[in-house]
Amino acid sequence: MARSLLGADRRSSGVDPDAASPPAPRTHRPKWRAWAGVFVAGFLMSDPAWTQAPGVREDLQQALRLSQAPARVISLLPALTESVCALGQCHRLVGVDRYSNWPASVQSLPRMGGGLDVNLEAVVAQRPDLVLMAVSSPGQQRLRALGVPVLALEPRTHEDVRRELLTLARVLGLPDQQAQSVWREMDAALSAAAQSLPAYLRAQRFYVEVGSGPYGASESSFIGQTLGRLGQANILPAAMGPFPQIQGEFVVRSQPDVIVISADSREALVQRPGWSQLRAVQQGRICALSPTQADVLMRPGPRLAEAAQLLADCLRRLGSPR
């Protein structure tokens, strides 16, 4: 159990190095405690992650030692799939996870499971030179032990996306300029989308719902940052974390100007207790996202500018609040 919990956050290990050497058994302390301490320490030490250098960063960048640029790449995160294709290396992909669906060419690639249930056999059968997966996905240790190079990336902000494009370019053996030019294009498109909005459509208070619970996207998430670039405000401040779970009451009190939600949830919005009081609901100021649109918005990848365009279009459609 200790291993699976190690997935993301090895820094805060909490293992006391003194646990390896149990205290000298005194006569009044039961001996079994000492043996239990030895056993637990030995169990933990047997995990190679502990014997490696502690303090590994969340985005492992230099841990890979590739002799040449990887020709066969498997991507297990849709955002990373899209990034690889944005760098023009779609042809190197030999397998993707079941959720990757853009661009259309990846839909014909073999599926290797999902983020949470990676099909190790399928991955290994493809003989990949590199596997890209989320930091929080289980199975990284196993794949490494099987001799498969794994690069764990999980972009959470715009800055992360820029950095990961650069990392990917380097790992794939591409010149830095390629990644930088992709990023410059995205940045320019983002600014263009922002500038296309007239002044009266600025500074509206958004509520973006990303899941039932409800979970919202705050200012510190990449979605929130996109909204920030568009000059919009967010009812969820950055202090709450990127995707906080909030009470329905909080949204009602905050009275957002615009609600962004998936189209499936839109119909039942009125039935939530108290939500009929929301001005946004009464005036129909709701951006209902189709599944494809939701994909664009929810992925921190090269389509950030497209997401911004989506939101800007919706804003123009809704007009300013009455």
Binding site: Q247, E249, V252, R253, L289, M298
Partner: protein, 339 residues
């Protein structure tokens, strides 16, 4: 003569205390919300908050109390029928049945690939949970071929619980998009309770109390063993079957609205027993009151501890209920060590 009246008076006194705590809890519930803990008089003075109080906080608080009462009732009945202080309402597989019902419903009707899933589904989800819980208990009864042997019934319940749980896990692996919802359901939440849900649960609670009252003496007699109960002329088999069905209905009604909330059904009858030993005709309604207060308190804490975040209420009932049981255990051990 003194004792019969005395237990009635003790029960009445306890009941009054419980209702006072409930009133206090509801007041706190009206004041606790996304702004954390507010003083109730502050809420009274601020008219802009009243719509929120009336439409969100009060139905949620009342609903939490009702769901807790249903679970407390079911727990007391379960502990009486099985003569086991470790029995809880989910013993006969109703928890796994409800989870499977929800999972099936989401897999079939929640076909969207986006992270958010349909809200219209949620209305049907409560129905699916209810049907699932009942169906699981019926399967258990069929597997054990009636209620003749409690051991067989318990074993069948374990089998059904484990099997349905495995099917649920398998289904949610096939359709991982339902995982987030399933997790929410399994931890329990009173977040979306409205007045309609409160009405449904109130009816279920009333039905449960009325149906279990005449059988309270059967539960008392069962504590003397089956042979004695039968020799006293009580319909042991039919009565037990009826009580199991009441238990199933109460559990299903609660679980359908708030999900799988742990420990309430287990801890509430224990709390009643710790205060006074009462015959079942008093113990069952009092367990309902205690269960209601427990879940109400847990929900108020869930709302206000990390506002505006909503903690899953099942975590808090586990902390509260589990903590209470731990306290009793340590006191008991202390008593034994001292003796």
């Amino acid at each position: 003569m003194r004792s019969a009246g005395r237990s009635g008076r003790t029960a009445a006194r306890l009941g009054l205390w419980m209702l006072l705590v409930a009133a206090l809890g509801l007041t706190m519930g009206a004041a606790a919300g996304s702004t954390g803990w507010q003083a109730p008089w502050r809420v009274w003075q601020d008219p802009t908050v009243w719509p929120i109080v009336v439409e969100i906080r009060l139905p949620r608080s009342v609903g939490a109390w009702l769901a807790g009462a249903l679970l407390g009732l079911a727990g007391a009945v379960a502990q009486g029928v099985f003569r086991n202080p470790l029995a809880d309402p989910f013993l006969l597989g109703s928890a796994s049945g409800a989870s499977l019902g929800v999972c099936l419903y989401l897999s079939l009707f929640g076909a969207s690939l986006a992270l958010a899933w349909p809200w219209t589904v949620q209305l049907g989800m409560t129905g699916a949970a209810f049907v699932g819980a009942l169906a699981a208990v019926l399967i258990t009864l069929t597997l054990s071929r009636g209620v003749q042997h409690t051991l067989r019934l318990l074993l069948a319940g374990v089998i059904v619980g484990v099997t349905l749980g495995a099917v649920t896990s398998w289904l949610s692996l096939l359709r991982p998009e339902v995982l987030r919802t399933m997790q929410g359901f399994m931890l329990g939440s009173a977040a979306w309770l409205d007045w309609a849900a409160c009405l449904q649960m109130a009816l279920a609670l009333l039905a449960g109390l009325i149906l279990s009252w005449p059988l309270a003496r059967l539960l008392d007699a069962l504590s003397l063993g089956e042979n004695t109960a039968r020799s006293l002329g009580l319909p042991v088999e039919a009565g037990r079957l009826f009580l199991v069905l009441v238990l199933a209905l109460a559990t299903a009604a609660a679980v359908a609205k708030v999900g799988l909330v742990a420990f309430v059904g287990l801890a509430a009858p224990h709390a009643v027993r710790a205060v006074a030993s009462l015959p079942h005709r008093h113990r069952v309604p009092l367990s309902a009151c205690v269960g209601g207060n427990l879940l109400l308190l847990a929900d108020v804490l869930a709302r206000s501890l990390m506002a505006p975040q909503d903690l899953p209420v099942g975590l808090l009932t586990a902390a509260l209920g589990g903590g209470y049981l731990l306290l009793r255990l340590s006191r008991q051990q202390g008593g034994e060590a001292a003796a």
